[in-house]
């Protein structure tokens, strides 16, 4: 029997994870249990599912010690970051529980029967209902918040969909422990067996996506892996939605005014942002547009000295380590790109030192704006707005775009917002795109190639991905879900065109 290995990125040493790739019979059985769990999970209702999510959050926290220890060994991200990420995952589960209790996510709508300008019309009631079992592909860079216990799992369970996670090969042991923590909590809460499942290995992931009982896929990872899965979906008899969060360069623009007023402060913030988590965030700022001239020169010099003094960081796995080195070499081979500064090289394991590269904004191309997943920033200098606009247009559409400007530059801020808002899912002012707030209004998405969807994978509205509308026409009360019956006034509903809130 083949085994799955686990690797310590600090040393590069590989050992037996104690886990095996899931063979087809296992995938078949895990998906079967998910399918069996679906009717119960759906009919248990949203208050029950809110309790389940709260129980999962507590279960996760209860296993924090072992989870953080194993994740640190498998990712090298360090206990401070990992404790924070675990807290974030628990917070996220509880936020979805809050959203379930509030009920607005159902979009409950009632159009009573009556006369209309087109004649008599039947009673129509609409609500969102769960799709069915969902496959979740976790990401290497968030062993908790975008993995087994992450946002896709939380939002799919909130929707009422059983989840089968394909464990990421970069942290199989953490995935296994996360699954055990969540599955135990679910069992104790009384959730049906099959509410949450897990499979291991690339082949199992492919079988999962091909299984006709799987009704949607949540994915965070590379464009190439996504394309492989999308091809499998194209081959299904019944296509299903694929929600992919794929890649992002995240341009950041610094105005002349901001560079003059806050140069050193922005340099420090930008340095912290692009090296945070060893630069392995999908929201890492990859290209910073800095004005030509003295203030910009000072900011770049400050950035350069921060990079020069920085030590090496540990990348997550061999693939990312190799890929980062290759992309770095490709970027530096470009005539338009120069190396401005490098940090102190490390040795052993998958280490990489931060890099600061320079280019002229007007010379940016598809090649010079390739996403480098790791601690690397390209500083693109611009002389005027036309040059800035040209440079921004060369950057692929992203999850985020950021502007640093001064309060006195209101007209400029509006102009820049117009430039970037078609090219990103979130626009940030005088801050940094890393550190995505988990909240009701968050949008973590964006135009292709950042994602392939019009939805978010962070924040409450992520639940919409795993729901579909269903309308009931002239249905007897007994057939209607509780939320669509007359008098069920504890959730926000649209009744005859007008929003009606619960009495508080």
């Amino acid at each position: 029997m083949s085994i799955l290995t686990t690797t310590d990125p600090r040393t590069g040493e590989t050992s037996d994870s104690g886990l095996s790739p899931s063979d087809p019979a296992v995938v078949e059985e895990v998906v079967g249990r998910a399918q069996d769990a679906f009717p119960a999970l759906r009919s248990a209702g949203r208050r029950w599912r809110a309790g389940l999510l709260d129980a999962l959050a507590s279960g996760l926290e209860g296993s924090a010690e072992v989870l953080v220890r194993e994740a640190d060994r498998e990712t090298g991200l360090g206990p401070v970051r990992l404790k924070g990420e675990l807290a974030r995952s628990a917070f996220q589960l509880r936020l979805f529980a809050e959203a379930l209790r509030e009920g607005g996510y159902l979009e409950a709508t009632i159009d009573h029967a009556g006369q209309t300008p087109l004649g008599p019309a039947p009673d129509i009631r609409r609500m969102l209902v769960p799709l069915g079992p969902v496959a979740v592909f976790g990401a290497s860079n968030f062993p908790f918040a975008f993995s087994v216990a992450g946002g896709d799992t939380a939002s799919a369970l909130a929707a009422g969909c059983p989840v089968v996670v394909k464990a990421h090969s970069s942290h199989p042991v953490t995935s296994g422990h996360s699954y055990e923590a969540l599955a135990d909590a679910a069992r104790v809460y009384g959730a049906p067996d099959g509410t949450l499942g897990i499979v291991y290995g690339t082949a199992a992931g492919a079988e999962l996506v091909a299984d006709p009982r799987i009704r949607a896929v949540g994915f965070t990872g590379s464009l190439s892996a996504a394309k492989t899965l999308m091809r499998i979906i194209d081959g299904r008899a019944q296509p299903i939605p694929f929600y992919g969060e794929l890649s992002s360069v995240n341009p950041l623009v610094i105005t002349r005014g901001a560079a003059a007023a806050r140069g050193p402060e922005i340099a420090a913030g930008l340095f912290a942002s692009f090296t945070s988590g060893a630069g392995q965030f999908c929201t890492k700022p990859g290209v910073a547009f800095v004005p030509a001239g003295e203030a910009g020169d000072g900011l770049v010099a400050e950035l350069g000295s921060l990079v020069l003094g920085a030590g090496a960081q540990v990348l997550l796995n061999a693939r990312i380590h190799t890929s980062f080195a290759e992309i770095r070499a490709r970027l530096l081979a470009e005539r338009a790109v120069t190396l401005l500064a490098s940090g102190v090289q490390g040795c052993g394991g998958f280490s990489a030192a931060p890099d600061l590269l320079g280019a002229d904004a007007e010379e940016l191309t598809e090649e010079t704006t390739e996403e480098a997943f790791g601690p690397l920033l390209v500083v693109a200098r611009y002389r005027d707005r036309a040059g800035l606009a040209r440079g921004l247009n060369a950057v692929p559409e992203s999850l985020t775009a950021t502007v640093h400007c001064e309060p006195s530059e209101t007209g400029l801020a509006t102009e820049l917002a117009a430039l970037i808002e078609d090219r990103a899912g979130r626009i940030v002012f005088n801050g940094y795109p890393t550190g995505v707030r988990v909240s009701w209004g968050q949008h973590h998405g964006g135009p292709w190639p950042a994602t392939n969807t019009l939805h978010t994978s962070v924040g409450v509205t992520a639940v919409r991905r795993f729901l579909r509308p269903l309308a009931w026409q002239d249905a007897p009360a007994a057939v209607l879900p509780e939320e669509l019956r007359e008098g069920a006034d504890d959730i926000p509903r649209r009744i005859d065109g007008r929003m009606v809130l619960p009495a508080t």
Copy 2:
């Protein structure tokens, strides 16, 4: 120069439409004008766009006489139905105008900055924004409500997206007149040139979908035409959403109780529904499950006599006429299918007589549940619930599913609802699926192969297809859209997790 022909389906006679297929240069120019109109259309705001939709509705009504006349000549649907459909299109435009003024569709959300369990968090504001120019492919069977002046056009314009319609080859003259009526009204209202465009011909449709400036496609038509367009989208550098309303068999179940209590009434209603518009509705009931036994026998006999006495109807075009004959022949060639009754054959043009076919519910297959677009109904007799369930499972997932039951059969109604709700987008009780109410809560969609989306093409929420979320982080007030500013309290908004309604 090649010409486009127009055909009278009552006679089959073809003549010059006076229109030409749009060559690539024309498509290029029409899409260019749409792209140019986009910034103005978006920034004009929702109240302005509401006025535009009202103006389009009036423009349509103002041209009703010529539109109905031309549509009658090109579709054979008759003036009563066509006047009703035109009124419905105008109603639809005005309903979207109402939704724009109300503003809830924006999903405006504000999460103020502050302390959270995860530490300090930035201000996040989210709202839906338009995608950009949209291509709309009208359907043959609704020359107004699913064509140039139809729901896709109305919802895309409501979203703030310019629209380029690919005129359906089955009614080019009606399309041209519809476009003129709407474009004139838009011009008088002061809308930017390029708000609405039109192209003619299959090649132009393909070029439209391939154009990188087109950001979404709304389509109503056959699965095979949809697949051609989806292949073009797969070949784009930037994929775009394709919203396809594709095919539907629409099962209808009659319980023993309903057959006994209302046999003749249901027979009459069902006959009217499956022959309405010559059976050319995507919501036409295609398979009716009738209980074995006396009451069911009576109902089927009544249906048979209605069909026997019915005259021929006119199908929309040569392709539908041929295809209907072919599918009818394929169905009758099935061992399990018998011909129960046929109406009086017509002569000339694209005429077809209504048909009633019979089968055993337990013997239904993929072959015997093929959608026949025209006045044909398969009556499937069932002996018990297991047989009914088996038959229902053989019917492809549909836009609608219908149950006729008695008030005393509450338990049965719930059981049947559970059987059908996974297999349809709208479930109808004691009514008929044709005649789709245009309202806030309507859902005209459904699982594949009924559609390929989790959205509707009828009703207010159809607008969501042409919008994407955008989040603003710590944005200066001047940069924010009006609806996300502090104090803008004239629309429903979610603020710090709670829905807040405008003071009324």
